[in-house]
């Protein structure tokens, strides 16, 4: 017994000694525009890039791209922070950029190596999670809202979170609703429905509001067919569900291939919801930071940025791309909301200490 304790203590000491000794030796300061330093390992969200763009990049720079996909920010972070898998380029969302900067997981970008930064829309150059844009470059942006099968539930519905959360409305759709399997997205939706924003809740450390949101989600649980962050669009198309909580572009991409596309709509609830920006960033464990910088610059190219949006139906932060984006996308208020609709949307902030509470509240509501 004593021997085992000794081994354990020794292990703890060893573990402590080599924890946190990680050093950000990687730098992009020597990279010039168009430089490459080896094959690129690109870790991106599932179904988020036109494969032709990767082929074009490979052809132009003569390096190959190892493309791997993830389904949530946290899944990506788990791989990157374990330090055991080497990715040169990742695409964290807003709050995750904040987290990764705080944990010293991102490399400072050499802006000289990314001349196309000038193409960015001014609205995307001063984002709250990385104000100077030192660590991240916007990739695509979008909103979180509700996809509705109008054919199944009829025209005259109110564009509100009530579709998911108001018993009077939603009870008719028992078992035909899906919610994102994402604690923050689900909680923010319920908070907005209850009249809060996550930012206020965090500022006031408002645990009552969290409890209120949890109760709303718990009540909704009985009506929810499933929690899903990947299939929400396809499920709406196949009729697995009739009302789905999900990300704008995911819906449009699914709608584009549907036979019944004219019956499917995406709405941003009137109470407001989440607006997010996914950003390209280079982890400190990267081995080919110059190739990564070059890929960032490549994506920021006016035509390439448009190709991206025309393929995945998410908004482009690239002002120069607008000339090449299909007009029906550019003019779609659901993809490019303006005015009041845009005002009501919030970025998910870095949740800090409340993170576990939000996570637990969500898990409790599902049980």
């Amino acid at each position: 017994m004593k021997r085992w304790l000794g081994v354990l203590v020794a292990l703890m000491l060893v573990a402590a000694a080599c924890g946190g000794s990680e050093e950000a030796a990687v730098s992009t300061s020597d990279c010039g525009p168009g430089d490459t330093d080896g094959d690129l390992s690109f870790y991106n969200w599932a179904e988020y890039i036109d494969p032709d763009l990767i082929d074009a990049f490979e052809a132009e720079y003569g390096i190959s791209v190892e493309y791997t996909e993830y389904e949530s920010n946290e899944e990506m972070l788990a791989q990157v922070e374990a330090g055991a898998a080497v990715y040169d380029l990742v695409v964290p969302s807003d709050y995750m950029v904040d987290t990764m900067i705080q944990e010293d997981l991102l490399v400072k970008l050499n802006k000289d190596a990314i001349p196309n930064l000038g193409n960015l829309d001014d609205a995307f150059t001063n984002l709250p999670f990385d104000e100077a844009g030192d660590f991240s470059v916007p990739y695509q942006w979008g909103t979180t809202g509700i996809g509705v099968n109008v054919g199944a539930i009829g025209e005259g519905f109110d564009p509100s979170w009530a579709l998911l959360f108001d018993a009077d409305v939603a009870d008719q759709y028992q078992g035909r609703i899906s919610l994102l399997d994402d604690p923050l997205e689900a909680m923010v939706a319920a908070l907005h429905y209850a009249g809060y924003t996550l930012e206020e809740v965090i500022a006031d450390n408002n645990l009552d509001a969290i409890a209120e949101a949890e109760a709303i989600l718990a009540e909704a649980n009985a009506r929810v067919a499933k929690y899903d962050s990947v299939n929400f669009g396809d499920d709406l198309v196949t009729g697995e569900v009739d009302i789905a909580h999900g990300w704008s572009g995911g819906f449009f991409a699914s709608f584009a291939e549907a036979d019944n596309a004219d019956e499917l709509v995406y709405i941003i609830p009137k109470e407001g919801g989440v607006r997010w920006v996914d950003n390209m960033a280079i982890p400190v464990t990267a081995e080919h930071p110059c190739s990564a910088s070059t890929m960032i610059n490549f994506i920021l190219d006016a035509e390439n940025g448009a190709t991206l949006t025309n393929w995945n139906y998410y908004g482009s932060p690239n002002e120069a791309s607008e000339a090449f984006i299909l007009p029906e996308i550019l003019e779609d208020e659901a993809i490019y909301p303006s005015g009041d609709a845009l005002e009501n949307l919030e970025f998910i902030p870095q949740v800090g200490e409340l993170g576990l509470e939000l996570q637990d509240a969500f898990t409790r509501s599902k049980s």
């Binding site: 080599c18 924890g19 791989q79 374990a82 330090g83 055991a84 898998a85």
Partner: protein, 282 residues
Amino acid sequence: MTTRTTSLDRALAANTWFVYAFFYLPILVLVVFSFNASTRVGIWRGFSTRWYGEVLRNPEVLDALKNSLIVAALSTVAATVIGTAAALAIDRYRFRGRRGLDGILYLPIIIPDVTMAVMMLLFFARAFALIDAAGPRFQLGIGSITLSHIAFNISFVAVVVRARLGQLDGSLEEAARDLYANSWQTFRRVTLPLILPGVLGGALLALTLSLDDVVVTAFVSGPGSTTLPVYVFGLVRRGVSPAINAISTIMLVASIGLVALSLVFQRGPKASRNTEMIKETT
């Protein structure tokens, strides 16, 4: 036999056919619908092999298949050698630490794969941090997947081989020892041929487990090392599609091929692969 036993017998038979139907109907439906021409999976629009063509031309599927085969082959060979040696040691010799090894060997079999996955992830995260500090860079990939598969496969091989050893009569080896004197020769000419069905059975089990594993592999895979089950799991979570039906059918046919192969290894009714398998599980 009284009439009562006959009616009991009839009930037993009915249950048996029910269980067989339960085993086979889902698989059968899947196989049939994999030949469906329609893009809508549930609606039959005529016979077609288009999904097979699509799957077999998909470079991601082929890459994943290649990774799976590499991992399965390497981990099976390593686990079979190490596991067989361990089984022989435990069954035939008394040595220090025998009981300890016996206990540890059981653990990978009984812990759920989620726990195993967590263990391997944390282990590699720590190990790579240490190695990184020393210089060379390693990362998760085929290597870490293979090492993890060997870790759980050793136990399964050892258990199957031990079951076989348990059935053997030691007197043959005694005689051989007297005859050849050299213990290596005894092993090669007598023991090995005798336990060969067990060894092959263990290897086959290891191969299947390696080709089956999703959770452990998903936790310890890195860029570009997706295996076929992990790839299919990702697809399945994205919903149902005729292409998955086709991949499934191909994988099912491969499994049935393995069963057929295992039957070839049968030597006499008692030493059958099946008995081996059952011994292993009891």
